[in-house]
């Protein structure tokens, strides 16, 4: 590659894959009705696989007796890793604790044309959970360096695609909530977003909490 002006190598890769998320709000209020964080891992020390972390307002009728907090996965150690290392420290999950939730096995299916949409389903055998994103407002490559998560010093690289629309369905019934997007910001932002080609690295000498 000719003309390289800057080149950096980071070891300590913790995770690489995808990590879209959705927060849905009750219409005409700031009350959160659902939060979903989906992790598709192609490499971590716990292997590849899928994890869907779910919090739903316990009064939502679509739960129909199901727990309102769930960790669904096809790789149990990866589920613990995703929650314990990353999601529990994300600002959008503050106050939405899943630490005592035991992961459940699920079969995952994902399809997309990321110009237009992404859809992920998790099937536990007795229920089906579906997260969907569409009306994508563009993509930006973003980095955040020296982010302290759980006392560990990390760098993040990811491609963020905020979406004007999104949904979360349980057994094909949608949670009654809406996405909050700001199209006028530069770049646009949204409570529903794709996060593609996401890599977390830990800096050498970082201390575990």
């Amino acid at each position: 590659m000719a003309g390289v002006s800057m080149f950096e190598i980071k070891s300590g890769v913790l995770f690489t894959g995808e990590n879209p998320g959705i927060t849905l709000y009750r219409p005409d209020s700031d009350a959160v009705v659902a939060k979903v964080s989906y992790w598709r891992c192609v490499y971590s020390e716990f292997g590849a696989g899928n994890v869907m972390l779910i919090w739903v307002d316990p009064d939502e009728p679509v739960l129909d007796g199901m727990p309102h907090r769930m960790l669904l996965t096809d790789n149990l150690p990866l589920a613990y890793f995703a929650w314990d290392t990353f999601t529990r420290y994300f600002p959008e999950f503050e106050g939405y604790d899943l630490s005592d939730v035991k992961p459940r096995n699920a079969r995952f299916s994902a399809e997309s044309d990321a110009r237009w949409f992404m859809r992920v389903t998790a099937n536990t055998g007795d229920a089906m959970f579906e997260a969907a994103w569409w009306d994508i407002l563009g993509y930006t490559l973003r980095t955040r360096n020296a982010w302290i998560l759980g006392g560990r010093l990390m760098d993040l690289t990811t491609v963020i695609g905020p979406c004007a629309s999104g949904a979360f369905r349980i057994n094909s019934r949608p949670v009654a909530g809406e996405v909050r997007a700001d199209r006028l910001k530069s770049p646009p932002s949204s409570s529903a977003f794709l996060a593609l080609s996401e890599t977390w690295t830990e800096r050498a000498g970082s201390m575990r909490e």
Binding site: G47, R115, S197
Partner: protein, 199 residues
């Protein structure tokens, strides 16, 4: 988070594999596999291959071949990226017509990765194994073809790799070099790869 200025042209995976004739520096196969999770031409898979026609009896898929389940995406990666890579330049990728193929891939990034492309007449299988290292590479403002790029990718050199065509193993060897902590291999995985074209 800091935003990098420019246009995301491709995001996904791009493992590569070059095999050499045993005991020589002669390339018998150069393969660039692209799995797009986002591009301006959409998602999908593309396999860009140059295989020495004398190395194996498979006339449909030796020489310069592009297999894809999204011909627009294949054209994009051939024209903007692979056609400018070492071992792929001057192999005719600019004019090769993508052939339709069905793709399957599976893996555990710790250990192995496997891609199968099935054209209906030929089946090509690529396997990478014994992953030696995982490093995030970030290159800023470099030239490839007529554009300047930023690139982020997780590079994982592999000790072993193989190509089979119609269940026949293509004879060739991977080249691995080690200098202190720096490991390079002619067979590597490339996960979470994003190409951003500078404005």
């Amino acid at each position: 988070m800091a935003n990098t200025q420019g246009t995301v042209i491709f995001s996904g995976e791009n493992p590569g594999l070059t095999l050499y004739k045993p005991g020589t520096d002669e390339v018998v196969a150069a393969v660039s596999y692209w799995r797009s999770v986002y591009s301006g031409a959409g998602d999908g898979n593309a396999l860009l291959m140059w295989i020495d026609p004398s190395a194996i009896d498979a006339p449909n898929v030796t020489g310069t071949t592009i297999l894809a389940d999204n011909s627009g995406m294949a054209r994009l990666v051939a024209d903007r990226f692979t056609g400018h890579f070492e071992n792929f330049r001057d192999r005719g990728f600019a004019t090769a017509e993508p052939q339709q193929a069905r793709f399957v891939q599976e893996g555990d990034g710790r250990w192995y990765h496997r891609v199968v492309a099935n054209t209906g007449e030929d089946v090509i299988e690529l396997v990478w194994g014994e992953v030696l290292q995982f490093e995030l590479i970030q290159s800023a403002d470099f030239e490839l073809g007529p554009s300047r790029w930023d690139l982020a990718t997780v590079i994982c050199p592999c000790e072993i790799a193989m190509i089979t065509i119609n269940n026949v193993n293509l004879v060739g060897e991977v080249r691995v070099t080690r200098a202190d902590d720096d490991i390079k291999s002619s067979a590597f995985l490339a996960f979470s790869e994003t190409w951003l074209e500078r404005s």
